[in-house]
């Protein structure tokens, strides 16, 4: 449609970051355009430059970012040659943006109303703050609420409402739901799609999650190292990917093999590696009533057989992490019993060197879980030395073998490196190695891949599976992601509001979810699970009803 | 911060008081202002240019208390309000009649008759009479907490006080004690008709004093300054309206005000010839009469310091002139061997003693070293001499920090004594801990100075009488070096029993000789009494030429002699 000016037109755009030694290019001659009302998805891994583009469009890219070439036109208005006043005028009227972190993107000390009104004050808005809230399905009575009084999902909705206040031609969504749960994510996109239908604005969605784009986007562009390697309509792209990188990216998202049936292990083995009975963890007791304000874990009885991988699935705040921490003894239960390999986990504070630690933790935050000041060698040596009955072992040899087991070879080359010199995947491997140092019977892996790039997630998952096979450790895999759960786990336990609402063989659960909550989780999986015929994936269209 | 370097009253009434309702505390500052406005007397202020501006009290939190018996009485209470029977002019040693016209001893020196002026009225118009005098002394007898020149007179020598007639008072003594005269006539008198109704005279704040003095009207009162104006019924002619007392926080502030001519009557500016007089030779002047002596006190209960030879050797090593130059800008002279200041006591001092005493006063370190060597105080390995008791002669000299003339003198003492193998370290302390150590005799070396007295009697009693020696640990303002000699007691007793001047003089001469022989304390230099004036607005201040009164503001009663002489300069 050549006669229509595109909502966004980017020609040969180059963006770079000023560095100690000259410019470091981040976006390199990128060109694409979005037709009015079109939903465009820009996918790529962290550091590929997709967010840089998103922020450059409105010239919001922070120092030391510099736009070094090309053109950006929003609905025909040139953003790069216009003077600052003009650019400010164009901002939000022609294009608005929704940032990733919903909490920090609203001013903490101003009410929602104030912040909406502030936009409307620029003029041209047709709706009142109240109407805007209604539009994104938030009770207008919350108008005078402060950001911290809303949930993450609500906050993001508020920002979306704000973004549409001046009915711009283009809305840029910069990873808007990465920090949110799948279900919330789904709901938000349902709303966005609906609004798009009504108002006809174009959307540029930046994400690392290809399958999500399959659900929502009309067109997909894949970025790598600051370049767009491929652009295609969703249908075309699903059928076949031109560029090899697109393929690796797509194949990296684990595929559940529904062909092979579940490995059914005897449910009640004589010696479960983990057994909990009526486990309860309550936080903050109310001074008046004496009753607990928050039941993180509410009467959970659960068993885990040796060599078994069980995925504990649930939304954030469902209590799954708390459960994991209690199993390893990092957190003490309020009541109920935990038996790990025949012992009750000893609370950290009261551990002696000899106390067995059958359960070891693998942490989510690959950046935070290693001390930035210490070498990899230090971390592992400490782990080996402080493992029970470690006197006999030769520390260095043990450390080396650990590194090899997790695929960090040659070990010597890693010993003296510091965390910040390693990639995310490598760090998580170190994390695994550390967990294995005490040769535990059970690994508690708390979202071990959620912070990693798509392409390496599967490697880590495979590694965990392999460790199970080779070392015979059981694994409690804590995640919010049904797909990875189905991919690696023998059994799936679904946790909701501190209780296990459904439990069973992985594929059985995925194919025949019993509990409503499980259904919604599955329905919310971006791009669906790719279930065999007869089991149609729920899609946004249906979920909306 | 300069504090009058006389232990007599190191902290002489520095604070003031103002009647302010405590509400003011709660309300903010401006509210406080209004609170003042409410409670301050609604009198029209006498314009400042009518008033003599003096720097007499430090500080800026004056309160309206004019109880003259307070140990820290407001300055004006004994300088412009309450008057004594007679006033001792310490500059000249002369005793001036005041509320009394004269006195007479009985032959046995056991009773003293004082005749009062008959033209004196209290500021409220009531006549002043012998009853007031009697009342005052009995009041002090009844309330030992009342402090004044005559405190403790009844315990020591006074038997009774009665009014012979309206204008005659008779003091009856329990024992002969002629020096008592000076304490008795020096006592300020309070009006019976006001004080008889006071429930507790010790804590009586006396905000609106009734007195016989020249200035008794609180004309205006602020937290950091106040003005007192004429007593309508004063018994002498006055040519000025009143005084204006400005509070200051420190030397620099005082000096600044003085040098910029904002004061008419002041005390101390450093190096006055260059910094002060030079600014306006025609009007700026000062007169620093010397009425007491600064002495190095060696605690005679401490090892080698008990030996007079050591004390005299120490004395020989001292560079007195340098102390004078650095401490008081050359405005003094080295003390003589009698320990008495020449000014007030010139008739008492025996020139022979001074002459012979020069042998242990005039600086001569070599002689000092020789004395110590001969006396067997050999130097140890570290060059420090060793005492007979085997202890090496290392001593601390303590001075209150802030009394800079004394501290610099002590610094020089420390230096000089090092040269003769006595290791002295200077320790400055807070005024109170210094008082504590010296009064209780828990010190090694310190500086001290005699109280100003009418006769040398007190000086020798306080430095040599066994009666004045208190055991180490018990506080006593006198004889801090703890030196006593029974022979002195006899002489002092003889003196106290005598009413004959010539006899008294010969007794003092003997005491002088004893002092010069034993050196119970080491006289350093004569202590000037700070006093300066600015005659741009007022004239008639006492000067070196016209010594009708000391110029020092801190001197008790001194200012009373001055007020009638002051005149406002015609524009």
């Amino acid at each position: 449609m050549p006669d229509i000016t595109p909502a966004l037109e980017i020609v040969d755009l180059s963006v770079g970051y000023a560095g100690e030694t000259g410019m470091v290019p981040a976006v390199d001659g990128v060109s694409f355009s979005i037709a009015p009302g079109e939903f465009m998805g820009l996918a790529g891994e962290s550091g590929c430059g997709k967010s840089t583009i998103a922020q450059s469009i409105l010239r919001l890219l922070r120092a030391p970012g510099i736009i070094t070439g090309g053109d950006i036109r929003i609905a025909g208005h040139d953003m790069l040659t216009s003077d600052e006043a003009k650019v400010r005028e164009l901002r939000w009227r022609t294009a608005s943006i929704v940032l990733q972190n919903s909490l920090t993107s609203l001013n903490p000390v101003k009410t929602i109303k104030w912040q909406l009104q502030e936009v409307l004050d620029r003029g041209g808005g047709s709706k009142s703050p109240a109407e805007l809230l209604q539009m994104v399905d938030i009770d207008p009575r919350r108008l005078n609420a402060f950001p911290h009084e809303l949930s993450g999902g609500q906050r993001q909705r508020v920002v979306i409402a704000m973004a549409l206040a001046l009915s711009p031609q283009l809305v840029i969504l910069d990873e808007p739901t990465t920090a949110l749960d799948v279900i919330v994510q789904q709901e938000i996109f349902v709303t966005v799609k609906a609004l798009q239908q009504q108002m006809g604005f174009a959307v540029l969605l930046i994400t690392h999650d290809l399958p999500l784009l399959f659900d929502v986007a009309d067109r997909i562009a894949v970025m790598k190292d600051g370049k767009i390697v491929e652009t295609a309509t969703v249908e075309a792209f699903r059928r076949h990917q031109e560029h090899p990188y697109s393929r690796t990216l797509l194949s990296a998202t684990p595929r559940i093999d529904f062909a092979t049936p579940d490995v059914i292990r005897p449910k009640d083995v004589a010696h479960p590696v983990l057994e909990t009975a009526h486990l309860v963890k309550a936080y903050g007791t109310n001074p008046l009533t004496g009753r607990s304000m928050l039941m993180a874990i509410n009467d959970v009885s659960f068993r885990l057989a040796p060599r078994e991988i069980v995925a504990l699935v649930g939304a954030s705040g469902s209590g799954k992490s708390t459960f994991g921490r209690m199993v390893t003894g990092l957190t003490r239960p309020s009541s109920g019993d935990i038996i790990v390999d025949g012992h009750t986990p000893v609370p950290v504070s009261r551990r002696r060197k000899s106390t067995p630690r059958a359960a070891q933790m693998v942490f989510q935050d690959v950046y935070g879980s290693l001390n930035p000041l210490h070498t990899i060698g230090h971390h592992l040596r400490r782990a080996v030395i402080s493992a029970p009955h470690a006197q006999k072992v030769d520390v260095e040899a043990r450390v080396a073998s650990l590194l090899t087991e997790v695929g960090l070879t040659p070990p010597a080359s890693y010993l003296d490196r510091r965390p910040h010199e390693l990639s995310g995947g490598q760090r998580q491997r170190v994390g695994l190695a550390r967990a294995l140092a005490a040769s535990p019977k059970l690994l508690v892996a708390d979202e071990p891949v959620s912070m990693l790039d798509v392409s390496i997630r599967r490697d880590i998952l495979n590694l965990i599976a392999r460790l199970r096979d080779e070392q015979g450790v059981a694994v409690l895999y804590i995640t919010h992601d049904m797909v990875s759960a189905g991919y690696i786990a023998d059994r799936i336990a679904v946790m909701h509001r501190g209780q296990i609402v459904e439990e069973g063989p992985a594929k059985a659960i995925l194919m025949h979810p019993q509990h409503e909550y499980t259904r919604r989780l599955i329905a919310a999986v971006p791009g669906g699970l790719g279930l065999p015929d007869g089991h149609t994936d729920n899609h946004l269209t249906e979920a909306t009803t | 911060m300069h504090i009058d370097p006389l232990p007599k009253k190191p902290l002489s009434g520095w604070f003031g008081r103002l009647h302010t309702s405590l509400r003011a505390v709660a309300l903010g500052a401006l509210a406080t202002v209004s609170a003042f406005a409410v409670t301050a007397p609604a009198l029209a202020e006498v314009p400042l240019d009518q008033l003599v501006r003096v720097v007499a009290e430090g500080g800026n939190s004056f309160t309206r208390t004019f109880n003259p018996f307070s140990p820290t009485a407001r300055w004006v209470s004994t300088r412009t309000m309450y008057e004594p029977l007679m006033i001792q002019n310490y500059a000249t040693g002369k005793l001036d009649p005041w509320l009394a016209t004269g006195f007479e001893w009985s032959a046995d020196a056991l009773s003293l008759t004082v005749t009062l002026r008959d033209d004196v009225k209290w500021s409220d118009g009531q006549p002043f009479s012998a009853d007031d005098v009697v009342f005052t002394f009995n009041l002090m007898k009844a309330n030992p907490g009342l402090i004044g020149p005559a405190s403790g007179a009844f315990d020591q020598y006074l038997a009774s006080v009665e009014a012979v007639d309206a204008k005659t008072v008779k003091f009856t003594f329990s024992t002969t004690y002629t020096p008592g005269l000076y304490s008795l006539v020096d006592q300020f008198i309070v009006p019976q008709h006001v004080w008889k109704d006071v429930t507790d005279p010790v804590t009586f704040e006396n905000p609106d004093p009734v007195a016989t003095g020249p200035f008794t009207t609180i004309d205006a009162f602020g937290t950091d300054r106040y003005q007192v104006t004429k007593n309508p019924n004063y018994w002498q002619k006055l040519n000025i309206e009143g005084v204006f007392i400005q509070g200051f926080n420190g030397n620099d502030q005082v000096s600044a005000a003085t040098l910029s001519g904002n004061l008419d009557w002041g005390g101390l500016v450093p190096d006055p010839d260059t910094t002060f007089v030079a600014l306006d030779p025609e009007h700026f002047g000062y007169w620093w009469p010397r009425t007491s002596v600064v002495m190095l006190q060696a605690n005679t209960t401490v090892g080698a310091l008990a030996d007079p030879v050591v004390r005299k050797a120490m004395s020989l090593a001292l560079d007195r002139q340098r102390m004078i130059n650095t401490g008081v800008w050359g405005k003094s002279v080295p003390a003589n061997a009698t320990g008495l200041p020449e000014g007030p006591f010139k008739d008492w001092i025996d020139p022979k003693v001074v002459e012979e005493g020069a042998s242990w006063i005039n600086i001569d370190p070599d002689a000092a070293n020789k004395m110590l060597d001969d006396a067997g105080y050999a130097k140890g390995g570290d060059g420090i001499r060793v005492g007979k008791d085997g202890a090496s002669m290392k001593y601390d000299i303590i001075v209150p920090s802030g009394w800079n003339d004394w501290v610099s003198a002590s610094q020089i003492v420390a230096e000089n004594l090092k040269d003769i193998g006595i290791d002295v370290t200077l320790r400055t302390t807070t005024a109170d801990s210094w008082t504590n150590s010296t009064f209780t005799g828990q010190f090694q070396l310190s500086l001290g100075s005699a109280q100003r007295t009418a006769t040398p009697f007190e000086f020798y009693r306080n430095n040599m009488a066994t009666t004045s020696v208190k055991p180490v640990g018990t506080p006593s303002p006198n004889n801090q070096q703890r030196y006593g000699d029974p022979k002195a007691d006899e002489l002092l007793a003889k003196f106290a029993a005598s009413t004959d001047a010539t006899e008294q003089k010969s007794i003092i001469a003997e005491l002088e000789a004893m002092f010069s022989a034993a050196a119970p304390a080491i006289p350093l230099y004569e202590q000037p009494d700070w006093g300066l004036y600015n005659t741009r607005r007022f004239t008639g201040f006492p000067t070196e030429q016209d010594q009708y009164a000391p110029l020092s503001l801190q001197m008790t009663n001194g200012p009373l002699l001055v007020w009638p002489h002051l005149e406002r300069r015609a524009e």
């Binding site: 120092a63 551990r351 550390r434 | 030397n251 420390a414 400055t428």
Partner: protein, 307 residues
């Protein structure tokens, strides 16, 4: 990671940064010269070696005091006393603060509550009156000075360090260390403490400043030992001999400037290092180096074609 990088980069850039160099030079001169006092001081600082309040001359480079002592020598020896006292105080307060903070972080629970309470109480009680009252009742001298200022000076650090420790404690590497079975004290010493390095260093420097000025203030009030030569006592003497009024400004300005410059140089270094460590300012610097000038911090990505 951010922490580690910024620290490293800060350290790297510290040299060459103008404020740091200036500060370092001033500090070096002051500390160096007073350290060498014994050798380079022309006179005995306590002895009168010249006339009273002599104007600076070749014989007395900084003139003489109201007692005729040589100001230069006093400045040198005084620096020695002042600085060692100040450093001791800084070391002690920092240690005390660390001990309190880490004990709180280590034991948590009621111990933490109690210590925090004590800290806060010390924080809100105004220091000077307390210091003055304390100093008035103890015999004057360096030890009193050190004791008093340490007692009154540690609280802020304790709070600072505690909040640091707490935020660090939430980092997962602490949980990880606990999980592999590290002893608590070892976690505190090896995992927590090193990560607080920069904060502790900055605090220490500030403490030196605090100690120097507080010390001077106390001595100025006459609560120090007047027999000791320190910059504070020099000021006390200058004040007591009415130096300014008598025009002997050098006896007053020399020690005052010594104090101010020491504090200044330290503050300068502290501030500069802080700046260098700040990634946002770093970004600005890089932008500037790339030849982009921004008039204000308002957000507008610069366009610089073919850069």
């Amino acid at each position: 990671m951010a922490l580690y990088d910024t620290l490293a980069s800060a350290r790297r850039k510290a040299f060459g940064s103008i404020p740091v160099t200036v500060g370092a030079v001033i500090l070096l001169i002051l500390v160096g010269s007073s350290a060498l006092a014994q050798w380079i001081a022309p006179y005995n600082p306590k002895r009168a070696t010249g006339g009273i309040n002599e104007f600076p001359s070749l014989k007395h480079l900084f003139g003489t005091t109201g007692q005729g002592q040589d100001v230069l020598s006093q400045f040198l020896y005084g620096g020695q006393n002042t600085l060692w006292i100040a450093f001791t105080i800084a070391v002690l307060t920092t240690l005390l603060a660390l001990i309190v903070a880490l004990t709180a972080a280590y034991f948590r629970g009621w111990v933490d509550d109690v210590l925090t309470l004590v800290t806060n109480v010390f924080l809100v009680i105004p220091s000077l009156p307390l210091i003055v009252v304390l100093a008035a009742f103890l015999p004057p001298g360096p030890l009193t000075m050190i004791a008093v200022l340490t007692i009154t000076g540690w609280a802020f650090g304790a709070r600072l360090f505690r909040s640091q420790a707490l935020s660090l404690r939430e980092r997962e590497f602490i949980a990880a260390a606990e999980d592999v079975g590290e002893r608590r004290w070892r976690i505190v010493a090896i995992e927590l403490l090193p990560n607080m390095g920069s904060v502790v260093a900055a605090y220490f420097v500030n403490q030196v400043i605090f100690a120097i000025t507080a010390q001077a203030s106390l001595e100025f009030l006459g609560l120090g030992d007047g027999g000791q030569v320190t910059w504070g006592s020099m000021l006390f003497w200058a004040q007591n001999t009415s130096a300014l009024i008598r025009g002997a400004w050098w006896t007053f300005v020399v020690p005052g400037m010594a104090i101010a410059l020491t504090a200044f140089s330290l503050a300068l270094i502290n501030n500069a290092v802080d700046e260098l460590g700040n990634p946002r300012l770093r970004a600005d610097r890089l932008l500037r180096r790339a030849g982009v000038r921004k008039s204000s911090a308002s957000l507008m990505t610069p366009v610089k074609r073919n850069a």
